[in-house]
Every structure is written in C-alpha cells, then in structure tokens.
C-alpha cells in the first residue's frame, strides 16, 4: 500500500535558509549541519537524509531533548515493574517523570509493582556536602521493609551523584550481598552525553553488568521458538498486541523488555533463540551484547500499520521453520479484514493529508508507513536524539524532498510548521500547544496523547481513529471570530 510521492525539495531548502538566517552566524553554521532535505540515494527505493546528529545541543536555542536520566529511568528501567527505582539525588527529576511514560503493567502498586511510584533520596544540602552513600545504604533497607515483595532495586543517578564522588557501585555490591536481591547502580547523571540516548546505553550496560549471569539460574526449559520482545515500553499497552501477534504465529515470548517486565524476564533473556527489537535506538546495545556473548541473533521489526506489520511478521518468520512461516501468513490473513475495514473507514477522511513528525527513538521513521497506509504523506521528520544509523534507516522510509531536522529547536519547529502548515503534527507535550494555537491539528507521539496502544493490528485501528479525530475535529474551523474579515 506504499504511497508514491515526492515532496518539494526547493521549498524545503528555501525554508531551511530562511530559518538559519535568524541565528547568530556561529550558531547558524552549527545548526545548518542538522537540517536537510531527503535526496535520492544510490540504493534503490531509499533516500539519503544526510544530517549530522548525536551532537551537543546548542545553549539557549530551546532544544526539545532531555537527559541521560530520562533515558535510563524514564525509558529503559522505569517500566521494570517488580523493582523499586530510586531517583537518587534531588526531588525534581523523579517528580517530573512520575507516571508520565504510561508504561502499562499488570500488578498491585506498592505491593508487588512499583512503576507508578516516585521513590527518591530527596537530596538535601548536607548530602551534597557529606555524600549520599550512607543514606542510600539505609534507604535500601527501608525500602525492603516498606516493599518486602520487591525483586530488586535500581539506583538512578541524578546530576549531583557523579559530581560529588559518591560510590553507588560499592553501596550496590554491599546491599546485594546483604539482601540477596538484585541492586543495580546506574550512572545516568543528566549531564552525561548529549541527550536521552547515552542514558539508554548506560542503562543497557547496567543490565549487562548487574543482571545477566548474576543470580542463580532458574529452572527453565528452553524451546525452539523462544524470543524476547525487546525495546517495547508498553506505552498505552503497545507491547501487548505485539506479544499477541507473536504468540499467534507460534513464538514463545520469554521476556518483554521492558514494558510490563519483571526482573526474571530481564535475567532470562540470554536463553532465547532470537531477539526481536522494536526501538533500535534504545536497546540495540544489549542486543549486540547478547549476540556477541550468547550468540543470539537479533531482528529489527516494525509493528506500526499493516504494511510494516505484515513485512515484519514475514521477516521474523523467516528466522524460523515453515510452520512458523505458515502461521505468519495465517495471522496476516486473519487480520486483513480488520485492516480493510479501517482503511475503508478512515482513508477517505485522511487521504492526501500531510504530516510533520518530531519524536524520539524509532518513531520518526517507524510510523511513516502507518500514515501512508491511510493515504497520508510525511513532509518532514526528525529525531530528538537519533544517531547516524537512525538517519540511514530513515532513508528507507521517507520520500525525496522531505524536510529533515535533527535536534530541532523550538524556533525552527515553530517556523517549519507555520510555513509548511501540515494537516497534522506528531510530536510531544512541549510542542503540542504552540502548534494547536496556530490552528494546526496535533497528536502527541510519545505518549500517544493518552490513547493507544498503536502497535499491532489492534493498535492500527486506534491510530487511525485518533488521527482522524485530530484532523477532522470541528474545532479548527472556529479559530477566527466570524466578525473578523477573512
């Protein structure tokens, strides 16, 4: 169902120039490297998005990025449900990130699950002066009294920890020995790296160093179809329709990372036959490690929209035998009726509508075909914290002439939206209201705007409904008072 179209390269280039002209000269030079237009590539069917990425944000320009703590606590570790995650440092980081990622889970909060809690060492001045290790030690004991059914504790470092010379690794080792539980120190101080991205990497390394091969091996009978579902954070329940599809095609999901995950699912992962990774950016590191150390292959997949879901199911099935391959075809056939009904219902309402995206992780490319399945066109996209390999992959998704913006600034995004006036913008809470004030429909594409799931066939129906709601809401016609000349 892939749409064939190109966007206006000359217009996009003119727009970039117009925006850069507003910066001080030195800043304009720096920003120019992050803005580009997708060009035809040598590889057939792909474009080249040649922008620089994963570079420090420029001071004072209103970057939309977050920090390493957000990447570790907020993304990778926070969803692991039966561990208590300590936001170690002052109160704010944990407060602002409390329950904001919508990592759904099944469990009893405060008893056997702790995802929607904010646990912090609430640093005071004396902790900065004298260090926080002693209090951290005592805090772990207190948490064990409060939450005896916890399976472990992670220590998510906030900025001061790395600056005052605390040794949280020593505390973790000592407490692991004392409690027999898994205590994981994570050096995800917010000043490390240039964005959330380093936090993902550090969090991955912490799984490698403090979870794998640490606890006594459980009794586990491995099967031929064992897979891990990696880097799906179950936002609005995303991982569940994904899991359902994998199970329907006969695979056995022995670990979900890290949406709705338990520590056991994390620790067991090296026993799988194959790792299936959705958000490449945030968990490719641990997949590479498992490949090197345990010989587990990994496959990237995309469960947004029927075109990509079908392609991914076939790609995954190709890693297994004919039974699984036949099952995959049966699954695709099973849901074809739903797909057709969704497209029949929504495509006439969305056909030809233009979309600009600015998100993180995998979404700036992964959702592209889902929009196209509904007849919509992507005219601009960019990553908050992508790397070069993300932009390479993006070339397989976006059309020639698509505006590409890396680590976009508030100013740039506002101008791009104002000039392009797409029919829909998909970005985050910080961008939502400025966009809507301009009269441009918007959906939050981090939190699914409190909707979801969007993954899998079940999710596609919701995705289509939500985009239609946003674009075809009657409110957009009310912006101008009738007594004002048109």
């Amino acid at each position: 169902m892939s749409l064939d179209y190109t966007n206006d390269t000359a217009a996009a280039e003119a727009l970039i120039k117009e925006v850069l002209d507003q910066y001080p000269e030195k800043t304009a030079k720096k920003r120019a490297r992050h803005l580009g237009v997708a060009k035809p590539a040598e590889e057939e069917g792909a474009t080249s998005c040649g922008v620089k990425s994963n570079i420090k944000s420029i001071p004072g320009v209103m970057t939309i990025r977050g920090c390493a703590y957000a990447g570790s606590k907020g993304v990778v570790w926070g969803p692991v449900k039966d561990m208590v995650h300590i936001s170690h440092g002052p109160v704010g980081c944990g407060q602002y990130s409390w329950s904001q990622r919508r990592n759904y889970f099944n469990g009893t909060v405060g008893i056997d699950s702790f995802v929607t809690m904010q646990v912090t060492s609430d640093f005071q001045e004396r902790d900065i002066v004298f260090g926080g290790d002693k209090n951290l030690d005592a805090m772990v004991d207190e948490l064990d009294v409060m939450f005896p059914l916890n399976k472990g504790i992670t220590i998510q470092s906030e900025c001061p920890i790395g600056l005052i010379g605390d040794d949280i690794e020593a505390v973790a080792k000592k407490k692991t020995a004392e409690t027999g539980k898994t205590i994981v120190p994570v050096r995800c101080e917010g000043f490390r790296g240039v964005s959330q991205s380093l936090g993902h990497h550090i969090a991955n390394d912490a799984i490698r160093d403090w979870v794998f091969d640490k606890s006594a091996p459980e009794e586990f009978e491995a099967g031929p179809y064992d897979v891990n579902l990696i880097a799906d954070y179950n936002i609005g329940g995303d991982a569940w329709p994904s899991r359902k599809l994998l199970e329907e095609m006969g695979l056995r999901v022995i670990g979900m990372w890290s949406g709705d995950a338990t520590l056991a699912e994390m620790a067991r992962a090296p026993k799988a036959k194959l790792n299936l990774i959705h958000c490449y950016r945030s968990m490719n590191y641990i997949c590479r490690h498992m490949e090197e150390k345990y010989g587990i292959k990994w496959v990237e997949y995309n469960f947004f929209g029927p075109t990509q879901i079908a392609a991914s199911l076939r790609k995954i099935a190709a890693q297994f035998d004919e039974t699984i391959q036949a099952n995959a075809e049966a699954v695709i056939a099973k849901y074809q009726g739903l797909v057709d009904a969704v497209v029949v219902r929504y495509k006439p309402r969305l056909d030809g509508k233009t979309v600009m995206l600015y998100v993180g992780g995998l979404r700036p490319r992964h959702v592209t075909n889902a929009y196209e399945d509904l007849g919509m066109k992507i005219v601009g996209t960019g990553y908050e914290f992508g790397h070069n390999d993300d932009y390479q992959r993006t070339g397989h998704y976006v059309k020639e002439g698509t505006l590409i913006y890396d680590d976009v600034t508030g100013y740039e995004l506002e101008k791009f939206i104002e000039k392009i006036r797409p029919d829909l913008v998909g970005s985050g809470i910080k961008e939502k209201y400025a966009t809507q004030k301009m009269g441009v429909p918007f959906r939050q594409m981090h939190s699914w705007d409190y909707s979801g799931p969007y993954h899998g066939y079940d999710g596609f129906a919701i995705f289509a409904r939500d985009m239609d709601m946003a674009i075809n809401s009657p409110v957009w016609s009310k912006f101008k008072a009738p007594w004002k000349a048109a």
């Binding site: 001071p59 039966d82 056997d112 900065i128 329940g237 739903l338």
Partner: protein, 511 residues
C-alpha cells in the same frame, strides 16, 4: 477478534477482552516469577494496618511519593509572569525539558523556557561558555525583553557564579549591557519549588532596584499595592479574580509575576510565545509602592524581607481561601490603600455565606485529608474549619516546623480542629497509612492523590497543582468569594455523589 473499525476499543476496554486477559494470565504464570497471589494479598492487607504505619513513619531516608518539586520549577514559573520574559535555566538541559512538560501538562499551554545544555566538559570547566553562548542565542532568536536565569543542581554543585558569569557575558556582548538579565541561584537540594519562586522574584526585584541603574532609593509613594501571588496552579483565574476585586475597590496595584495571560492564551491561529505578564516598567516603579502583599508566605518570605528593607510595609497570607481568608485579604488591601470595600463585594460575600448556610448540614463534621504546598494546606484547612469540616490530616512535604506551629494554632482556633494533625515533611506514602488507619470522608490535593483514592476508596477533590488528569479546573478561581463558592460546590458534589452511591433507600430526590 476484539478489535473493529466501527467500535474501536482502545486501552480503556481492549485489555479487558479475554484474548488479552488470558494472555496476561499465561504471561504471569509462565514467565514473570511473581510472588504468590496469597503473598500479595497478605502484604496488601498488612500495608493497611497500624504496624505498617509505624514502620512507615519510622522512615528517615526513603522518600516515597512526595508532594513537592524542585526550586528551578518555581523560578521558571515566577519568571514566566513578566512581560516578554524568557526563563533561562543554567545547567543540564533535561531539567528544562521536565519543567516545560510539567507546567504544560497542568496548564495545557506552551511553556517557553531555554537551557544552556551543560554537559561533561562544563562539569569540569564550569558553564561560563554555555552562558555566554546561550544568552546570545536566546536574545537573538527569541527576542525577549528580559532573560531570567535560574540554575539546575548541576551548576550549583560545581559552584557556577551567575553574577560574575552574566557580567562576563555582557562584556563579551552576548546581550547589550543594559539588557535585563536578572538571576537567582536555585539549588534543587534546598527547599522546593516554592523556595525557587521566592528566589526568582527577589532576583528580579534586586536587578531592577539595585543593579540596572545602581541602587534605587524609594521615592514618594505611588500609593500602589504590590502583590506577589506565589506558585499557584490556579494563577490564571485567581490573578484575574484578585485584579477584579482591586479594580472594584479602586486600588492601584502591580502583580509581581502575573502568569494569567501567559498560561492562558487564546486559540485564534497565532501562537503567542509571550503574552501579558507584569510590565518591566511596573517592576521598576514597584519600589515606590505603598506596600507589598505576599499571598503565600512560603513563596515570598525572602522577597518580602528584601522589600521591607527598602522601606515598604509588607504583609503575607497563607493562600487566603474562604470567607475569613478573603475577608482578611480585602481588609488588608483596604487598610493599606485607604479604599473602602464596596457594597458589591460585600454582597458577593453575603452570597457565599448564604450558600454555606444552605449546605452546612452536609458539611458538618466531615473529615477531610489535605495535602499540598504549605500555604495551600493552611488556606484550605482554614476554609474547611469555616464550613464545619474537620481537616483531620494536613500534610505538606515541603512544610517545616514553623508551618506545623501555624497549623496547630489554626486547629486551636476552632472546635472543629480539635482532632486534627499537621504532618510537615511527610510524603503521600505516609498519607496512605494515615488514610487506612484513620480514614477520612474526603481527600483534597493534586492529581498525585489519585493513587491514594484508588487504594483507599476515599474520594479525591483536585484543588491544587499539579492537575494533570482533569481539564480546565485551573481556569476557574479558588480564591475570593467566587472561588470559595466554587470550592464549596466541588466539595458538596462529592458529598452528594457519595450519599447517592451509598444507599438505594436514601436515594433522595431533594436534599
């Protein structure tokens, strides 16, 4: 297949379908290694008891579900309330992403604010270069009239000196020498967002009154009254209500930080990065005001001390809610300005008293738990006492010993306060134990209280920041007689809903 194009089920209903519930059960049984259901049930029951409460209150290190944020959030909020001002946070960039998100989720508005994105090299060498470059970029790109600088804990730990750094930035022509760049050091390991609010107000005043053109001496009084509203999630509506009263009284005033336009811009096709806010000229002239009033003591202590040293009268309140709170505020305004309280306001007061009298039977003796910032909890508790309710558990994570003393005095002022207790420095996990062991009829606080409501079944009334999960409450006031009326109605609605739900027999048509 549970899903369809016609009746699309999203997360609210999809996951109750058997295809999913069976999948959840299988996942749990085969892969999760969970504690047994019996162990979970036993621990849940145990966590509701007195023994657990004692252990809970014995905690000294672990903070669990606190109801407070950190200093720079308050500084950003305070700075946003000035004319065409860009809040600027010196330090790590992730903090600013959090502040913007946090405020946007509450106000449903864009929250402009910049960071100077300090990373490892700045941690080693200091953040001077970041500030020099950042100020220039912000000034050039966003064309503000003022850039108000606060700090993250990273910049504080490494000891960056904003005063010197800003001076150097001006020497390097990042911004013109006469461009307003007030600042406040706002370490997040000291105090809370209320402290940061206070620090930023003081920082802005001291810039205009001391550093812009040397130290100003207060001249002949303009007769105006300055008001520092404090960190208030309802500021959009409350500031307007306050201004309406002062207009009715003929009091001339300056709000020192007024976000009522900034965080409530219209949808008409134009995005306004800046709108409204206190005029910078009014801030300059505010030194000559007759007096300054802080509506929230713990958001304005240092600022008021600074202002008092300039020779002004000062006064502060604890988020003056209800009949008595509004009375006291209006009388203070009248006393300081010499303007009488007009009959029209007195009539509004009478209507509020009339409403409370009409409904008193449904309020009398109702036990209520209240949590939030220290001033809010005080103001709310005071109003509850007026209504004949008992503010049984009053908890403020960022309240201290002096707040506790003030609360005790408040409780002692009313027979309805006899069985009430203030809990300074405690968190919402403490409150959970309080609510299980000594249940109340109602809970008043922020959206964070919804987990307590879920656990204990005690209905939550959202009346303070942050409110993320209900829309537009902040667009209607909670202060003044009109605000008090609205608060009264919200409480009554919950009381009546509870009664309706409690018994088929008592399902009365008229009450």
């Amino acid at each position: 297949m549970p899903q369809s194009a016609e009746k699309t089920k999203d997360h609210v209903s999809l996951f109750r379908e058997p295809e999913y519930t069976e999948m959840f059960a299988a996942k749990k049984a085969q892969f999760e290694c969970r504690p047994s259901d019996d162990a979970v049930a036993a621990q849940l029951e145990y966590s509701k008891g007195w023994e657990y409460r004692e252990k809970n209150f014995a905690r000294t290190k672990a903070v669990i579900n606190p109801a407070k944020a950190c200093q720079p959030l308050g500084a950003v909020f305070a700075a946003a309330g000035f004319e065409e001002t860009m809040p600027y946070v010196h330090g790590s960039q992730g903090c600013v992403a959090y502040f913007r998100s946090h405020l946007a989720r509450h106000f449903k508005e864009a929250v402009p604010c910049v960071s100077d994105s300090m990373t490892e090299d700045a941690a080693v060498f200091g953040g001077l270069n970041n500030l020099v470059e950042g100020l220039q970029n912000t000034y050039t790109l966003y064309k503000p009239k003022m850039i108000a600088v606060s700090t993250t804990c990273m910049a504080e730990v490494i000891g960056d000196d904003l005063s010197a750094f800003i001076a150097t930035s001006k020497e390097k022509e990042s911004v013109p020498a006469d461009f307003a760049v007030p600042f406040a050091h706002t370490p997040s390991f000291v105090g809370s967002h209320t402290t940061g609010y206070d620090n930023m107000i003081k920082g802005i005043l001291s810039y205009f009154w001391e550093r812009e053109k040397g130290e100003l001496k207060a001249g002949a009084t303009t007769g105006k009254i300055n008001i520092i509203p404090g960190f208030d999630g309802y500021a959009v509506a409350n500031n307007r209500e306050l201004k309406r009263y002062m207009d009715l009284m003929g009091v001339e005033y300056t709000l020192l930080s007024d976000v009522s336009e900034v965080y409530d811009t219209p949808s008409d096709g134009t995005y306004r990065m800046y709108d409204g806010g206190t005029k910078l000229d009014d801030v300059r002239a505010a030194i000559d005001a007759r007096a300054t009033i802080g509506l929230q003591k713990y958001c304005s202590d240092k600022s008021l001390e600074y202002i008092a040293a300039k020779g002004q009268d000062t006064a502060s309140f604890h988020y003056p809610m209800g009949v008595g709170g509004t009375d006291a505020l209006l009388m203070k305004l009248s006393e300081l300005s010499g303007k009488p309280i007009p009959d029209s306001i007195e009539k509004e007061r009478g209507r509020l008293v009339d409403a409370i009298a009409d409904s008193q039977a449904y309020l009398h003796g109702k036990k209520v738990a209240v949590f939030g910032d220290p001033d809010f909890v005080y103001g709310m508790a005071a109003y509850l006492l007026e209504m004949g309710c008992e503010p049984t558990h009053c908890l403020s994570t960022n309240g201290g010993k002096d707040w506790e003393a003030g609360m005790k005095a408040l409780f002692a002022s009313s027979p309805f306060g006899a069985a009430c207790t203030a809990y300074p420095g405690k968190d919402l996990w403490h409150l959970r134990s309080l609510l299980f062991t000594e249940p109340t009829d109602l809970l008043i606080g922020s959206s964070y209280g919804k987990y307590l409501e879920k656990d204990t079944g005690i209905p939550l009334i959202r009346l303070t920041f942050p409110i993320f999960d209900r829309h537009h409450h902040h667009r209607f006031p909670t202060l003044g007689y009109q605000g008090a009326l609205r608060v009264l109605v919200e409480i009554l609605d919950r009381v009546f809903e509870m009664t309706d739900a409690a018994s088929d027999i008592s399902y009365d048509l008229t009450r």
